[in-house]
Symmetry: C2
Subunit: 458 residues, 2 copies
């Protein structure tokens, strides 16, 4: 905490005009807080935060938090032009982007929770804000209410962050958690999540990992002081995770989480850069992220001096996300009242995004093999071929869907008895592991590669 | 994150002079970072951070990180007077306090990790800094490397924090963790911790809860935007926790943690205020704080809109704590380079510290009772007398140290068979719970009140 005298004495300050764009789940909660907590906010800022208006498509629609009719407007431009601080909570690319650019052009400060827009056009908007000498804050865009941006930018400003791993999507975490705890199949867990409102009618953006990928780009941007775009994030969703995968993972002491990972690495050719990836990941049960349940989010940070840190909290929801929006708003408002420059953006280093093939990780591979002498040897040498070494290789009980085969008669003849083999590798270059799996597929002793999952946190 | 143009263009800046007071575990790591990461720090700040000197008692002593001999000095005053930013990492009250006051008097910024000093004279030092228009930062003073102060002050600036519960002392957490996982007795776990360097030769400040109490005062100060002193913290250490307590807690689904708790409450007479308390606490096994193992720290925050947040990381250690010191240092240095006012201190509300008797909590009480009809009724009515209601009341297996009694002959006669009774109450006012226990003690059916522990997080 820092104590200083304000550059201007605390004379009664004119109110600061706030434009609210959007009155959905989050927008409504922000409207409520600005209304109900007005006194508290005025005391903390040193000036009143006055809600100038709310841009909505239908001013007569009902809202979770209802404001006087005259505060709702369909004229976004006029509203933006009237404000000192613009809160963009509409989501989507347009008209959000144009309105933010307009606000920046006016020299107004902007707070947004729009991860899709930031992951696509972040650097462009940051540059525009820097150009105009105004501020663009976005704590709400990643991990809901969890304070992560200030810790990464300020608290760790004297340290070097080497890796960030986040459970950044509550929907997929809820689904995976259900599969893990109840043994449910993916489709049932998804249906359950939809029923409880944790998943959209169209869950694609969540279950395919696109939402997590956008957050990975934003987290990497903050952790490594360099811009990254969503199309630089390797992305794999959770739709192919089966109950059998969960069983195998659990049996080996792991839990499956969808992680957004950003890490500094040095490529084979010596290039220092970062790999950004989103994929289902096996974590040891005792890893702090493994205990993050249901719709909660958490961000695990590894820094050279600080060591391992974790930030945990609600990943979504109207009030929690509104809390993050208000944190940004109050910080900006204090600065406007105090006068003086806003926080200078950290000088941007250039950190190239490297292909996922350069990442180092471990694999758990489950394969169905013929049950006869020489099989292990054949597989072990195939793995060794690619310079990958094996941590453990063991037979695992056949999952239910495999028993069908066992029940058929020939399964009991000497010709074609089969078994499942679970291989866990040491850390190796992603591309070598991929090549290893390809080679294994070709072995005649291998009937099928049942599943391939990455392992972190060992 | 916030992007703005610096108020001054990035012209080559003169170096900022850093005075380091103390070269112990943390001081040595700060010296290492300032030396080895000089380039990175200069890039982030926009000016070099130049180590002007290090105040030590013996300049010829060996340090964990050895600097050129000429950088060590015994003349603290001269060193302080030469610096733009003073890093006080000596600990203790004097000469730390006088040197900080001297630096403030010079208009220099100060970074300290000295929780004892802040918990005793914080408001005084903050006032002096405000008076002098300079900055006093102290992220390192609580929970080591865990970024907690900026999240509480800035990220949650638009929210209302209702409660903070911290595992803020790694030594006691390690000891309790050992007792929980290995069933060790307190003395053995303590000896173990001392052997591993987790506990001092004189562990009093840790095991009696004084260290946690100092942190409770600092956390409350930040969470409630009001000053608190360590002598306003109710403090109870872990020295009386027995293996039997752990057994009873575990059997009921709880784990015992030493928590530093600060919460807003309204007293019986209507006074709104805060209760600060440090004591061994039963937490449900599934509570996020329950999973915090060994020497790690974590701070659990409840806010009106954000909901439940947790910040987790190493609670001590040279490098982690140095990371927190450097975070403060870089933030201050950026501000000095940029020019303009430092962050204005949040207007201070007045939040009176209320007696612990006003707190609302639950109790687990284990009593040894005569095993005869009417006992439960007698106890139940004694509890009801004080308006306390009971969640569960059940017989628990006699712990080893009780078997002695069982083995003696008369234990098997009809006159004096005994059993242990575990009572868990609903939440009630602390003073009523205390009165309830006093009444129970007096009942002739009660041989002994074996243990009384508070329960949170239900």
């Amino acid at each position: 905490m820092t104590v200083t005298t304000p550059s201007a004495p605390h004379a009664p300050q004119p109110a600061l005009k706030i434009a609210l764009l959007g009155a959905g789940t989050v927008g409504s909660q922000v409207a409520r807080i600005l209304t109900e907590d007005a006194e508290m906010l005025a005391a903390r800022v040193g000036a009143r935060l006055e809600l100038a208006g709310v841009f909505v498509r239908n001013p007569d629609g009902r809202r979770d938090y209802q404001l006087p009719r005259e505060l709702y407007t369909t004229d976004a431009e006029a509203l933006v032009d009237s404000a000192d601080i613009v809160l963009e909570l509409m989501g989507g690319i347009e008209p959000a982007k144009s309105l933010i650019e307009r606000a920046i052009g006016n020299g107004s400060a902007v707070v947004t929770g729009n991860k899709a827009l930031l992951a696509q056009s972040g650097s462009e908007l940051f540059a525009a804000a820097a150009e105009a000498g105004t501020q663009l804050s976005f704590e709400a865009s990643v991990a809901g209410a969890i304070p992560i941006l200030r810790p990464l930018r300020d608290s760790l400003a004297g340290d070097t962050i080497t890796r960030v791993m986040g459970i950044a999507n509550g929907t997929t975490n809820y689904i995976l958690d259900q599969m893990d705890t109840t043994g449910a199949a993916f489709d049932d867990a998804l249906a359950d999540a939809q029923e409880l409102g944790y998943a959209e009618a169209d869950p694609t953006a969540d279950i395919e990992g696109h939402d997590a990928a956008a957050k990975a780009a934003i987290l990497a941007n903050l952790a490594f002081h360099a811009p990254f775009r969503i199309d630089e994030v390797y992305c794999e969703g959770i739709t192919r995770i089966t109950a059998a995968d969960n069983e195998a993972a659990s049996e080996a002491g792991y839990v499956i989480k969808l992680l957004a990972i950003a890490e500094r690495i040095t490529a084979g050719d010596g290039t220092a850069g970062a790999v950004l990836r989103v994929h289902p990941t096996l974590l040891p049960r005792e890893h702090p992220l493994a205990a993050v349940r249901g719709a909660f989010n958490a961000v695990f940070v590894e820094a050279q001096n600080a060591g391992e840190l974790m930030f945990y909290g609600p990943g979504a929801g109207g009030a929690p996300t509104a809390s993050a929006v208000m944190g940004d708003t109050v910080s900006i408002a204090r600065r406007l009242v105090r006068g003086g420059a806003g926080r200078t953006h950290t000088p941007r280093s250039v950190v190239p995004a490297l292909p996922v093939g350069e990442a180092r990780t471990s694999y758990m591979v489950v394969i169905r093999v013929a049950d006869r002498p020489g099989v292990l040897a054949a597989i072990a040498s195939a793995v060794a071929e690619h310079g990958v070494s094996i941590v453990s290789m063991r037979q695992v009980p056949l999952a239910e869907d495999d028993l069908v085969v066992e029940e058929s008669d020939e399964a009991y003849t000497d010709e074609a008895p089969e078994s499942l083999l679970r291989i866990i590798t040491h850390e190796a270059k992603e591309q070598n592991l991929a090549a290893t799996v390809a080679t294994i597929k070709e072995l005649d002793v291998v009937t099928e590669v049942v599943s391939v999952l990455r392992v972190e946190g060992n």
